[in-house]
Symmetry: D2
Subunit: 457 residues, 4 copies
Amino acid sequence: MTGKVKIATIGGGSSYTPELMEGFIKRYAELPIGEIWLVDVKAGAEKQAIVGQMAQRMWDATPYDVQIHTTLNREEALKDADFVTTQFRVGQLDARVKDERIPFSYGLLGQETNGAGGMFKAFRTIPVILEIVEDMKRLCPDAWLINFTNPSGMVTEAVLRYGQWEKVIGLCNVPVVAKMGEAETLGVPQADLIYKFAGVNHFHWHQVADKKGRDLTPQLIDKLYEESSGLPKNIFDVPFYKEQLQQMNMIPCGYHRYYYRFEEMLNHGLKEYATVGTRAQQVKAIEHELFELYKDPHLDYKPKQLEQRGGAYYSDAACETIASIYANKNTEIVVSTRNNGAVLDLPADCAVEVTAYVGGAGARNVAFGPLPTAERGWLQMMKSMELLTIEAAITGDYGTALQAFISNPLVPSGETATRVMHELLIAHKAYLPQFANTITRLEKEGITVKDEIVRKM
Amino acid sequence: MTGKVKIATIGGGSSYTPELMEGFIKRYAELPIGEIWLVDVKAGAEKQAIVGQMAQRMWDATPYDVQIHTTLNREEALKDADFVTTQFRVGQLDARVKDERIPFSYGLLGQETNGAGGMFKAFRTIPVILEIVEDMKRLCPDAWLINFTNPSGMVTEAVLRYGQWEKVIGLCNVPVVAKMGEAETLGVPQADLIYKFAGVNHFHWHQVADKKGRDLTPQLIDKLYEESSGLPKNIFDVPFYKEQLQQMNMIPCGYHRYYYRFEEMLNHGLKEYATVGTRAQQVKAIEHELFELYKDPHLDYKPKQLEQRGGAYYSDAACETIASIYANKNTEIVVSTRNNGAVLDLPADCAVEVTAYVGGAGARNVAFGPLPTAERGWLQMMKSMELLTIEAAITGDYGTALQAFISNPLVPSGETATRVMHELLIAHKAYLPQFANTITRLEKEGITVKDEIVRKM
Amino acid sequence: MTGKVKIATIGGGSSYTPELMEGFIKRYAELPIGEIWLVDVKAGAEKQAIVGQMAQRMWDATPYDVQIHTTLNREEALKDADFVTTQFRVGQLDARVKDERIPFSYGLLGQETNGAGGMFKAFRTIPVILEIVEDMKRLCPDAWLINFTNPSGMVTEAVLRYGQWEKVIGLCNVPVVAKMGEAETLGVPQADLIYKFAGVNHFHWHQVADKKGRDLTPQLIDKLYEESSGLPKNIFDVPFYKEQLQQMNMIPCGYHRYYYRFEEMLNHGLKEYATVGTRAQQVKAIEHELFELYKDPHLDYKPKQLEQRGGAYYSDAACETIASIYANKNTEIVVSTRNNGAVLDLPADCAVEVTAYVGGAGARNVAFGPLPTAERGWLQMMKSMELLTIEAAITGDYGTALQAFISNPLVPSGETATRVMHELLIAHKAYLPQFANTITRLEKEGITVKDEIVRKM
Amino acid sequence: MTGKVKIATIGGGSSYTPELMEGFIKRYAELPIGEIWLVDVKAGAEKQAIVGQMAQRMWDATPYDVQIHTTLNREEALKDADFVTTQFRVGQLDARVKDERIPFSYGLLGQETNGAGGMFKAFRTIPVILEIVEDMKRLCPDAWLINFTNPSGMVTEAVLRYGQWEKVIGLCNVPVVAKMGEAETLGVPQADLIYKFAGVNHFHWHQVADKKGRDLTPQLIDKLYEESSGLPKNIFDVPFYKEQLQQMNMIPCGYHRYYYRFEEMLNHGLKEYATVGTRAQQVKAIEHELFELYKDPHLDYKPKQLEQRGGAYYSDAACETIASIYANKNTEIVVSTRNNGAVLDLPADCAVEVTAYVGGAGARNVAFGPLPTAERGWLQMMKSMELLTIEAAITGDYGTALQAFISNPLVPSGETATRVMHELLIAHKAYLPQFANTITRLEKEGITVKDEIVRKM
């Protein structure tokens, strides 16, 4: 880590890369980058070329001399890297379309990180991240792995537990966005609020206090309901039950809607499925548009349209984390990291998402103390599901996959769910070598995918 | 506890009482009973009279001089009792009909101890059991409370946690029946099998070994699937996924079907609801028939028909427990009791259902050790739900009830579930004084019960 | 907490008060104090008057308008205070002389915070701190209690556990001094080192890393032994066994010498006892000299001689903590606070001393993770001893006091230890009303204090 | 395990062997033994021959056809064994003499299983037991290892943790003797008492209740002090402090005297050392006498004199355990076994000594629940010390040995203790190959053994 910093970005062809560049540019003074290597797979090569040139233009518009390299050779990129960021998507957006449409075609929830679909994202991603870790052990053993590939918490857990790699931090934009929004809701500068988060990725809660330590959570709950006093803008923003929030005296994350308002979230998804297409299909369109923009040889800054993509501030959180580690800044960030007791109700060695002070030694988790009864049970169930999913992703064991599926609170167990699991296995065959035997068996049994659109992919 | 033993049975008018008598008669040599007091509420007085006379006839047909007393005065019965058994049902079978029909009327699972209905049984029962405990503190402070009122695990938990009463054991026939059936399936005398159970009431798993300690669980799993090789006798016996059982290498209890085959169990229930009526309605018919039999002044033994009632061996388990405590027998029984570390994955102070050696000091739990990942998560979730349900039962807090409801894996959260909760609150108004404020509010909002049959009750 | 800050300092007549003033003066910009109330008991009134005037002179020499009040009326001082600091010594230095000399007179270790003597300091102090907490509940319910009365960890534990007061932070100069010294030893600015502490007050370990997160502990251990390569300056600085430090890969605190080099520490103490007098006797002389200095009406700054007193940076740590809370600074400080999982190997609800980020909501503990085997056992033993000592301090139960004594690793159990305990009870009679019955019994048995000097006090 | 049972006894030349035979003979009906293989090392060959013939005579005097084999070839004995019992002593009694005399020669406690000496017994024994386990994996993978070689708890822990062998039970006569004596003290048949033990070997406590579950512990404590109302028979029987026992409301084991009355136990040992010789020296004389008796070709029963040897009922406990496993008897026995939560305050995976029901699947531990504060701390400290001792025994790491030594509550840390450790290393050189490097270094430094008697051995 002497001289200029080398960054390797796996999944470099992502439409998010300009946000990442913007984040790095903003922090150049404390994070003096020399070179950035964008790595992608062959299927992403075209996008990677576009975004790579765009990224170079962004740097060229600054006073800093930073070189962007694009490559399909991961080893070349990892060699002596100081930080490795991961934002890849195994199977690209088409895989996400399958994760969403196959469950919906049977009336089950199809969602990228939750429900049946989210588990398959883990099945595809975890073997790849573990390969990357093995490469890092050889090529850049002192580097930090900053992950923002979803499911970010499970990826972090897999890296810690099976990769035996400690220098990893998982990131998510959900806490960033929550903090910003709530400061606005409360009418208090964010710097004057004290936040405390605990849970796992996409399944955490938080409390907020003022700068004198006085709990503002009850007041925030009240304000949240004043705001949405009228009809909700759209059904997707279905409100939590106020009495539930008051009972826990915590603010859930947005993804909790799937668990606390399952019926409405499912119906909303089914409606989209039947009409405008699932989120992945919508995102494909947005992505297309973005890459059209990126092609513009005069564009040398992050275009506003990227914000519609979702995931805003994701890359920014990553850049802040990297700068905090590099410059030993002890910045307060919500990260996925080894628990170590910060969340009492989960095993000390598992990954959690908590408030931490991030510096040269990585994340120093703030001990949250015990969760209330309801949240404790939910979190323990979710962690079990995560551990089973990861184990199934590695072993390809059918029984373990089934246990993971049945443990998922968003998947009502029974024949329909099992059918959906089978179709997903078949649909993702190319990316699930660990499940080859099972897939062969299912194919022999004549299982085929029902959804027409997926069928044609 | 000198001289002859005094038994007080709360809910004495139950149709199970003859089984209880049979169990006591069989064990008279080691449990020399002097008097049995059957207590019931006014609504059960008629049944109690019938069954009380029947019980006296049963004893009169033996060489033992045992006096049956029937009373509506609980204090009189509890005074100086050695053992208090509880088999009461707050609101009688009609309440169960409501617990079942209201959820089904909205497509949700209605079941006596699981799902939306089961939680209301807890709401009605727990305040009453805590009153009984307070009476016991005054009237029979050395007595043991042997509970088989459902939800048996939550009742035990409430007695330990809120009643601060240590001398309590909760019982259930599920483990008894499982052991008997499996010995038959394996073709091995039950005495030559070594069982180990862990979990909570109606949500436990077990392993079985031969007398040399060799694990027979895999073999038992295989045999279970050979047996049901043909079509299942009825859909209710929907089999577990074999690969799931193999993955956990444990045998779930029957009630796990609701969690592991949710779809099929729900559909079966909905079908019954739409056709022959829910289980409670069927049981009402059986009960009527039983009481007609009991009226026969010549009947002085437990009639065979009682077995159809369900719950066979329930009372027998209770009698064996009482005899084991009285005679310090150290019998191996599966009981609900304070955990104390036997189930590592739950708090040490909560109630669990485990294999125990029962003697003069009560249950000595066999330490089970850690559960596998999937089962750990499920169990932790279920215990959370139990704790919330009990808390709501005591406080009548709406937010807590909502949290309990949403935490229940058999209740898909959202407006329908909330509506069902509201209708159940209204339907059980007479037995839910702790929720009076909420019920008044709901009534003002015009909430009424949709199900026609319940409406007319 | 609007307007100017009000500080109440219990034990205001302490010789440390000028250091406290210096700390506040240094931080006035971020901690705008309006008034400081020094409270003491009658026995300390004279010293309090001297130090109060001295304190006022110190402020008068600054541009800040701060009023020093001295009072014997604690209620007056606490009323509407923002911060309450505690630095009192029940029984003044004479009590410490007894704590030291009585054990030494029997060949046992006499020490202020460890061994037999330290436990009696707790017996005297804890009832008083709990009275203060009760006063605070009435008079300044929003104030923070910043304790640096020893035994600081046990005082914090008592306040949390029995006082049910959450807004408490215990402080100690040991970590401050260690960090400063080690930065020098390593030749690295302290800001470029990353420290992680875990344990309880006067019994903690730490690790240190460079700003890239690389563990410097092994290197620091090496350097520590290079330094003391010659003969140790004095036997008191008896070195730890290097191989022991290497095995744990942590740096113990100075007080660990009593546990890891018991023989040498005991012998050193016995030698002082037999010659120059115990530490308390030495400190009395230093204190006398200090107060002579303080009387000088021209002295308006902290005199250099205070540093000899021991406890340097103690008050500074307190001032920094207060400023961090007041200005929500999130400063990294090692504090005594509720564990909450930061030290996995101790109960979550007990007090620990750990690295924390201190801000408006108090201490946010950094989760340390599991301790190595040896340290885990020691720490668990010490926490047990602390809990027993506190319980005995509150109940005055003889058996509990005996258990605490026997649990203390520095007290070899048996008749001599018991005799020492009895003499200490008698010697401290005036400050141990909770043990009145036991003391009466011992006096009847004719137990008297052997040490001549104590006898004459 | 069909046909006749084969027993292999490692350390078969022990003077205890006749007691073992007596125990087997008594239980032949339920434990049909075919052959018993006594294994010993060359140094024990003569004794083994004597005791082997004696054992055969004992069986020949019964109607049972059991063949005694004596061999120096462990493999031959282990081949297809059903039960392996271990009662060997690495280095014979001379090693014990060294364990005792070397510490005493410096004024430290020398004792076989506690203090400095006990740790060296572990250092010598653990590598051997792990070799035996490796042999068992090859030669009798279905056998049970029933250990009564001391330190029995650490041996069990090592077998579980490092041997990865689950079928092990450690035994000790201390609980057996305590139960018998207390039944007499209380004047109640043992069968009518309910005992509950928890702790680790030679460091456990228990409670006793009557057959109605009423706690008799307070009454037993009272009676224990009535009994020893006169002067104690000998100083060795130094009583515990009554108030300490009342505070914990448990009965400690005899070895707790070393911890609770350290001063008196040390002084007693030092006096023996200076006069009649240490216990090992006394035992050598008794052993000599015993083997003279065993030579008598007419002796075919266990001679009364064996009881003086100490350790009475040790072998009997082992025979009862073996019979209980073989016949799946579910006998209640206090054993060393994997914790699994039975002792909440220790890790679930470590070895503990608890009340268990022993049957075909081994020990089913009774969950004890939480220990009181003082006992929790002591036990956690002792388990840490055990784990460190075992680790040092395996790795031969000097720093770990030092940590173990310093963690031992009976060893006051410092130069004297370190010197004693060094002398013990040198004295036991022949049996400590794992410490070869350290021993070489110490020899080069000129460390020699001070004690004259040890020097000449």
